[in-house]
């Protein structure tokens, strides 16, 4: 009687086509029990795994305001956003020019400079090397800025340009641009 409700895959057929072993009620019970057990274990595991994700308080801290007024042209500041450094750089005209002059074909991870900034003087990137997570040098005037005048990651030698794009070294992609908005002419909110 339970044959009708059991999945057909549970039946084993002999070469002649006749069922070698009929599907029994027990097979059906085993399958449904196992299915319930799997769903149950999944439902149990769910809250535990979910608890490992960033909690409400962590998410609530997910935006950072930056006042741009004190950042002189040619200098940069580092702010914390979600526990990570974000580089905010006030670029000089020469730096903007250098970033825009470079043909896209020469780039490892092609992206036009104007797609990476909202206002040309202000470059905002996550200060984490896309290779293995070190913080590149170049924020302070005394830092090495690499061969392209942007940043240089000392860990394994990645060079970034004045648009934060990877130009040489093992890093695969450009420095990430976080989502941010200008809340006034001289302030941004990251996140």
């Amino acid at each position: 009687m339970a044959q009708t409700s059991a999945p057909s895959g549970a039946t084993t057929h002999s070469p002649a086509g006749a069922p070698a072993e009929a599907v029994t009620k027990r097979d059906f019970l085993k399958l449904t029990t196992t299915a319930f057990a799997v769903v149950g274990v999944g439902a149990l595991a769910w809250p535990f795994i979910s608890s490992l994700a960033p909690g409400g308080d962590v998410l609530a801290l997910a935006s950072t305001d930056v006042d741009l007024a004190p950042i002189a042209e040619g200098s940069a500041v580092t702010v914390m956003w979600r526990g990570k450094p974000v580089f905010v750089r006030h670029r000089t005209a020469a730096e903007i020019e250098a970033a825009r002059a470079e043909p896209l074909s020469g780039l490892k991870d092609p992206a036009a400079d104007d797609s990476r900034v909202q206002q040309a003087p202000w470059l905002v990137v996550v200060g984490i090397c896309t290779h293995l997570g070190c913080v590149p040098l170049g924020q302070r005037p005394t830092d090495a800025r690499g061969d392209f005048g942007g940043w240089f990651c000392p860990c394994h030698g990645s060079h970034y340009d004045t648009s934060g794009r990877i130009r040489r070294g093992p890093a695969p992609t450009n420095l990430e641009v976080p989502s941010y908005t200008f809340t006034s002419d001289t302030a941004i909110r990251i996140g």
Binding site: W46, P47, F48, S50, S51, L52, G56, D57, V58
Partner: protein
């Protein structure tokens, strides 16, 4: 079979390869598959399995709580509130841990009661029983220290009162308390060491549970009749008979557990523990968790500091020697008409002690606690030793099968206890 390899009876090549080198599958098959189990268990025999499940739940929820908890007096309370408000499902994990502790004690109390009613502590199961009492003591220590962790008012003052019990020890008492605290009052060092121990002890408990079960599988289980199985007609293989019966209990247990968590998660706790610890103000009414109340009542019944502490610890210590205090050879209370009544009265008295432990220690409550304490000890120290000699037990059935099946007893049955492991197919 090559020399040095275990003679495995498993057919699946992978299972067999492992089993020949490390016979875990044979062991599981022997201890939880074919294990010969008396055929007449009632539902009281579910509680061991329930306690095991409960321990696993405590460890699983505890490990996840510990990932979010901060053991520092300035952050502990807030970190627990963060678990409740900000961590995804943190409320569920914490409520499961909190109510799991309550349920754990309920389950273990019933488990112990079962052993006392059916005489499971008697020869040859004395060591099995003693290991159980050790588990109970470790559980109490674990729960006490866990309760301190959220660093609420009850945490703090419970910790203060309980650690101060040790100051009753003559001469070195105050020194010991200072060492327990790591300071001159319950403070940050105390919280840190309690967290460390609260994390550690459940794993010690797991180890002792393992020994407890190992000892059980040497002597075999007792049963409601308290007579040993004499042959295959008296037993059933553990699987599927008792795996199935235990599953029924587990479903009921989980339903109760879910009800507590989802509908009355704070019912068994104290509201005062949601007030952050304040070393300058003691709550007006400080009461331990319900599972400590009978022992707390005994402590307060004695108008002498040292005497109270001794009797309180004595109330548990007496369980260690119970196998020798009970001089009757008959295990199950079913066949002991007088002892049975005495034990049921003792049980009621235990509940009275629980009730009075939560009352203020004044007026007639003190008197009730004193009478209750006397009854508690009299059962162990007077009634049981005397009844073994005075009481005339009812006639014991000839065998489990006879008692369960009547004259049909010769039909059917399971494996013989102690016999070599039978092939699994024989029981399928």
């Amino acid at each position: 079979m090559a020399i040095g390899l275990h003679d495995s009876s498993f057919k699946n090549p992978v299972v067999r390869w492992v089993d020949q080198r490390l016979p875990v599958f044979t062991m599981i098959q022997k201890e939880y598959g074919t294990f010969p189990t008396p055929r007449n268990f009632n539902y009281f025999w579910n509680f061991g399995a329930l306690a095991m499940i409960n321990l696993m739940i405590m460890i699983a929820t505890g490990v996840f709580l510990a990932m979010h908890y901060t053991a520092h007096v300035d952050h502990a309370f807030e970190s627990v509130e963060r678990i409740m408000r900000d961590v995804h499902f943190g409320w569920l994990i914490r409520y499961a841990h909190m109510n799991g502790a309550h349920l754990f004690f309920a389950v273990v109390f019933i488990h112990i009661w079962r052993g006392m009613y059916y005489g499971s502590y008697k020869a040859p199961r004395e060591l099995l029983w003693i290991l159980g009492v050790i588990i109970f003591l470790l559980m109490m220590a674990t729960a006490f220290m866990g309760y301190v962790l959220p660093w609420g008012q009850m945490s703090f003052w419970g910790a203060t009162v309980i650690t101060n019990l040790f100051s009753a020890i003559p001469l070195i008492g105050p020194e010991i308390v200072t060492y327990l605290w790591g300071g001159f009052s319950v403070d940050n060092p105390t919280l840190n060491r309690f967290f460390s121990l609260h994390f550690l002890l459940p794993f010690v408990i797991t180890g002792v549970v393992f020994l407890h079960v190992a000892a059980l599988h040497i002597t075999g289980s007792n049963n409601p009749l308290g007579i040993e199985p004499k042959g295959p007609q008296d037993t059933l293989p553990f699987h599927p008979y008792y795996t199935a019966k235990d599953s029924v209990g587990i479903v009921v247990y989980l339903a109760v557990f879910a009800f507590l968590i989802f509908f009355m998660p704070n019912y068994l706790g104290h509201a005062d523990n949601y007030i952050p610890a304040n070393p300058l103000v003691t709550p007006a009414h400080i009461v331990p968790e319900w599972y400590f109340l009978p022992f707390y009542a005994i402590l307060r019944a004695v108008p002498d500091k040292l005497g109270g502490v001794i009797l309180m610890f004595g109330a548990i210590a007496v369980l260690f020697v119970l196998p020798w205090l009970d001089t009757s050879k008959v295990r199950s209370m079913r066949f002991r008409p007088i002892a049975r009544i005495a034990f049921l009265l003792w049980t009621v008295n235990f509940m009275v002690l629980t009730w009075v432990g939560a009352k203020p220690a004044e007026g007639h409550y003190v008197l009730i606690a004193q009478i209750g304490t006397m009854i508690y000890f009299a059962y162990f120290l007077v009634v049981l030793p005397a009844l073994g000699r005075l009481e005339r037990p009812l006639p014991l059935p000839e065998s489990i099968a006879r008692a369960v099946l009547g004259p049909k007893a010769q039909l059917g049955g399971g494996p013989v206890p102690g016999a070599a492991t039978a092939q699994p197919m024989e029981k399928a």
